[in-house]
Amino acid sequence: GRIPSSFPLTQTVKRSVVLHNQRLTAVFLCRRVTMRGASTGIVYGGLKYQARSIADVKADTDHTSFLAGTLSLKEENEVHLIRLSPPGSELVCEGLFYHPNEIWDLKSCPFNPRIFSTVYTSGETYGASVWQIPELNSQSNAPQLEHLISLNEHSFKIKCVLWWPSGKHDKLISIDEGNLFLWSIDTSNKMAKVISQESVGMLHNLSGGAWDPHDRNAVAGICDSSLEFWDLRTMKKTSSIEQAHARDVDYNPKKQHLLVTAEDVSGIRLWDLRRPKCPVKELPGHAHWTWAVRHNPEYDELILSAGTDSTVNLWLAHPPGANDSMSESPVDSPKRPKDSLLNSYTDYEDSVYGLAWSTREPSVFASLSYDGRVVVESVKSYIRRK
């Protein structure tokens, strides 16, 4: 087995390493955190290094599980398959796999629970790959990830890989600082080829994006100071939102044309693409950078955001249209349902970069702070309330 590095472990977690079947499986006894009062999160302290990426395993319909990848410059990096035990009381490491390089982005395949993609760097080199988790009850000695596909057409630093969020689709998008690639992939034959490519030019920098779940031909890309939209059939820009210094973008999973951005100055802003001139709503976001923002997959008025102020905020933001008739009445009238901060989860020691709702259990989300701590929280009480 591996000896844990000298990196200090989160003191809050009792850890026991259990060896069986010659496979290293770490089981972390988890506890309800009571450190700063109100928090009820379940903590998983198994990531030994710093980490930025966590993803919900969408295709796993039997368990609520997440994949998290570490970001360590000098040590061997890992991907953890974390499962929420059925009563929802603890997080169990279901699998631990070595990953050759530090992971900057990790996304799960929406139609196969064993497949996921990573974006990684090693010194000056970078890459993006699609991996397959080996059969967990196989008797193999070392749990090696099976490398399926390399997305190696990139000449700039790769930022992220996007899967079409709404189910089976044989395409994949990868975004680097200067280009957008559309791939046709065949995981069973380990084949991938570029269908089309669009460059944003030397003057612009892409830093991320999102694939429209309502339209598999529409993708949003985060450019320096704007949000650009492409039609994948023509690879031409269809529209843009100017003056948006976005760090993250997420489409509303229930209503077409709506999306949310996490921005430098303005915190969180909700947009209607049919009216890109000005945002529909604005939420204050975080005390420092708002790093990530996600709609709840089921209750789209619940929005989760993670920030470098070491907090995760849960917002209630009614999408526009639902109460349009009320918008006429300014103050005197009975107040329309107010958008508000429902809760602020503050039990983090460092910036929170990773954020993922569970598709299977929409009242549950996982968050990952830079110090490698995964915290799973339930928002059930807020859903019931509304």
Binding site: L73, T121, K277, W289, Y370
Partner: protein, 690 residues
């Protein structure tokens, strides 16, 4: 004869064109027709002949008539000429008589005016005087000198009386209104105060009411007449008692309705709408004034005047808000104090309107503030067109002014206005109790408290954003993995300090100083990490070898784990120190985040170490929370350490040497700069920086 020819041709056509067809017809019949036609034609011919003869006869008659008319005309001309002279004479006499009459009128004017004054018929007096004005203007200096003087004296008396009338409360409102109108006619500089305007307004209103009254009465009369007629008819026709009874009931009903639709209601209605309008326009005017005061001093201040322009904007707008509101209250109070019967009835309503007015005014003011910051769409989310200012073009200084102005409104203006309202505008309640009072100071205070906080945060955000762009450029441009050995402190630190200095200039104009005195390098207890990061320890650490740095790194991690989270995101206060230190904290946090996104080689790491080490002292000049700065700077170096493949820090002597080179270089530069321009502020700040 043309007709006949045409007719003939037609008949010929009939014969030829339709020949085959015709031949089949009865020839006899055709012949018969032909004969008839011929006869007819002949008749026509004769008729025409006769007509022609008649016309010829008429012509002759006409000529005769013309001759007669000519002769009559010439005769009348003759008469006319013979009478012309006489008529001219008569006209002359008439003109003279008119002139004499006028002269007589002028001579009589003083007496006449005196009579009018006696009878208090000022309207007539004014009319007479205005009528004779042109003559006085033309001949006043010669023939009618005495007369003019006398009448002017009289009219002065009239003016005096009229004025007295305006200000005497015992006079009925109509009389006072009339007086105002008359004075205006006399071009007398009518005191343009609220009182007179109001009286005039009321006069107009009562005029409207008068006309309404007459109309109503006429209608009523008509109806009664018809009713009576009907009654007569029915009375005459039969003894239908039932019908008479119905009419009688109608009349009684009308009597009741008449009481209900009492005329005062009309006048009340009219007065109501006018006062309401008056109040609402007053408020919108004030709103305009406030936003003008804010934006007037805004356009691009020059370097020199920058110092005080923000302050001016703040003071100016403060004054407009408080003074404008108090002035309005004064005017409205006069309205209530007028003690007019009509207004007295409206008292409750006026109180409500004034309260509502203030409520609405402050709500609109809040919206206006937002719009000025380019956030208009928040207040008015349905406006699809953004005419508001783009966020980029908003001046940060204005945002700061708005923040402080909001505090002023919340803490000073609202309580003051509340007092005034409580003193003179309490009561009301015409809205009904379920609505509560119209002016809710608590709500307004809450709005402005949150607005103030929002603007302060917005200011901090805008500034942080500006610096963030600078930092982003710094960290995304170089290839950190192939960085060369650090030779000097990177210039981005100068830009960073410059930005912070600019913030300092703005903040010092608008915000008060904090109560906490600054102690340089004191062991502030503001944060939990301070015990571990005092200056001496820091100095020692920089002189240690790699191993020590590593242990320091580990130590800071352990510290992070066992200590409470460093409270860098504390609540911002309205003080210079708080704002500037918040901005610095945010920037250092951003610095750490940018570092975390890179991978460094040893030299890259050393460059970061050098830059951060240099920043330590100048940053502490800005901030009262040394511990937080130390902590954050250490975090930056820690982050660089983590992201470095080979993190061996610079040796202390080299570090010191590079830093002192930088210090002397920037001192030289600032001296050179001072020789050129000598702006005091810059000199002071660069000195302080060193």
């Amino acid at each position: 004869m043309l007709w006949i020819r045409i007719l003939l041709r037609d008949s010929k056509d009939l014969h030829t064109d339709s020949c085959p067809h015709v031949q089949k017809l009865n020839l006899e019949g055709l012949l018969q027709k032909h004969v008839e036609m011929a006869a007819e034609i002949k008749n026509l011919d004769t008729d025409l002949q006769i007509m022609k003869n008649n016309i010829v006869g008429m012509e002759a008659n006409m000529e005769q008539l013309l001759a007669k008319i000519t002769s009559v005309q010439s005769k009348s001309d003759l008469v006319n000429t013979s009478l012309f002279e006489k008529r001219e004479h008569i006209e002359k006499l008439h003109r003279t008589r008119n002139l004499l009459r006028k002269v007589q009128f002028i001579y009589d004017l003083p007496t006449r005016l005196a009579k009018c004054i006696k009878a208090e018929a000022y309207a007539d007096a004014v009319r007479f005087f205005i009528g004779s004005k042109p003559i006085f203007e033309a001949y006043g200096d010669s023939s009618f000198q005495d007369c003019k003087r006398a009448s002017e004296e009289a009219i002065d008396l009239v003016i005096k009386n009229l004025e007295a009338k305006i200000y005497s409360d015992s006079e009925p409102i109509e009389a006072r209104a009339e007086a105002v109108v008359l004075l205006k006619q006399l071009n007398f500089p009518v005191v343009d105060d609220l009182n007179s305007i109001l009286i005039a307004d009321n006069f107009v209103a009562s005029c409207q009411v008068d006309s309404l009254k007459t109309k109503l009465l006429e209608k009523l009369e008509d109806y009664l007449m018809t009713l009576q007629d009907e009654h007569k008819e029915t009375g005459a026709s039969a003894l239908d008692t039932l019908e008479t009874r119905v009419i009688w009931e109608d009349v009684t009903l009308m009597d009741e309705v008449l009481a209900e639709a009492a005329l005062p209601a009309f006048s009340l209605e009219a007065a109501r709408s006018i006062i309401r309008q008056f109040i609402s326009t007053s408020f919108s005017h004030l709103l305009l004034e406030v936003s003008e005061a804010l934006t007037k001093s805004q356009p691009m201040p020059k370097k020199g005047s920058e110092e005080s322009s923000l302050q001016n904007a703040l003071e100016g707008s403060k004054k407009v808000v408080i003074q404008g509101s108090l002035d309005l209250l004064l005017e409205f109070r006069q309205l209530l104090d007028d003690n007019l019967e009509l207004l007295a009835k409206l008292r409750d309503l006026i109180v409500d309107w004034v309260q509502e007015g203030f409520q609405g005014f402050f709500q609109k003011l809040d919206e206006r503030f937002l719009a000025l910051c380019g956030k208009g769409y928040i207040a008015n989310p349905d406006s699809s067109v953004i005419d508001a200012i783009q966020v980029d073009k908003v001046q940060t200084g204005l945002v700061l002014v708005l923040a402080q102005l909001s505090v002023f409104i919340e803490q000073i203006a609202i309580p003051r206005i509340m007092e005034e309202i409580a003193a003179s505008f309490s009561g009301g309640g015409a809205r009904g109790y379920e609505h509560g009072p119209a002016f809710v100071p608590g709500e307004i205070c809450r709005i402005f408290r949150s607005a103030g906080e929002r603007f302060l945060l917005l200011y901090i955000n805008m500034k942080t954003q500006k610096i963030s762009i600078l930092l982003k450029k710094r960290f995304t441009t170089p290839n950190w993995i192939k960085h060369k050995e650090p030779r000097e402190v990177h210039m981005f630190v100068d830009l960073l300090l410059q930005e912070l200095e600019a913030v300092g200039i703005e903040v010092r104009q608008i915000l008060p100083q904090g109560l906490v005195r600054r102690h340089r390098h004191s062991d502030s207890t503001g944060s939990t990490n301070s015990s571990r990061s005092n200056a001496t320890r820091e100095d020692k650490l920089t002189r240690t070898n790699t191993q020590r740095v590593r242990s320091q790194f580990l130590e800071s991690h352990l510290a992070k784990l066992f200590e409470q989270k460093m409270e860098i995101f504390t609540k911002v206060q309205y003080t210079q120190e708080s704002v500037i230190s918040t901005i610095i904290k945010f920037c250092l946090k951003s610095l750490q985040e940018f570092v975390r996104l890179q991978t460094f080689n040893r030299s890259g790491f050393q460059q970061i170490q050098l830059d951060i080490e240099f920043l330590k002292n100048p940053l502490k000049e800005f901030v009262d929370d040394d511990a937080a700065i130390d902590f954050l700077l250490k975090e930056v170096i820690g982050a660089a350490h983590e992201r470095c493949l080979d993190p061996i820090p610079l040796e202390a002597p080299i570090l010191d040497k590079l830093i002192s080179t930088k210090i002397s270089k920037s001192r030289e530069e600032s001296q050179r700069y001072n020789k050129l321009t000598k702006p005091k502020e810059l000199f002071v700040c660069s000195e302080r920086r060193l």
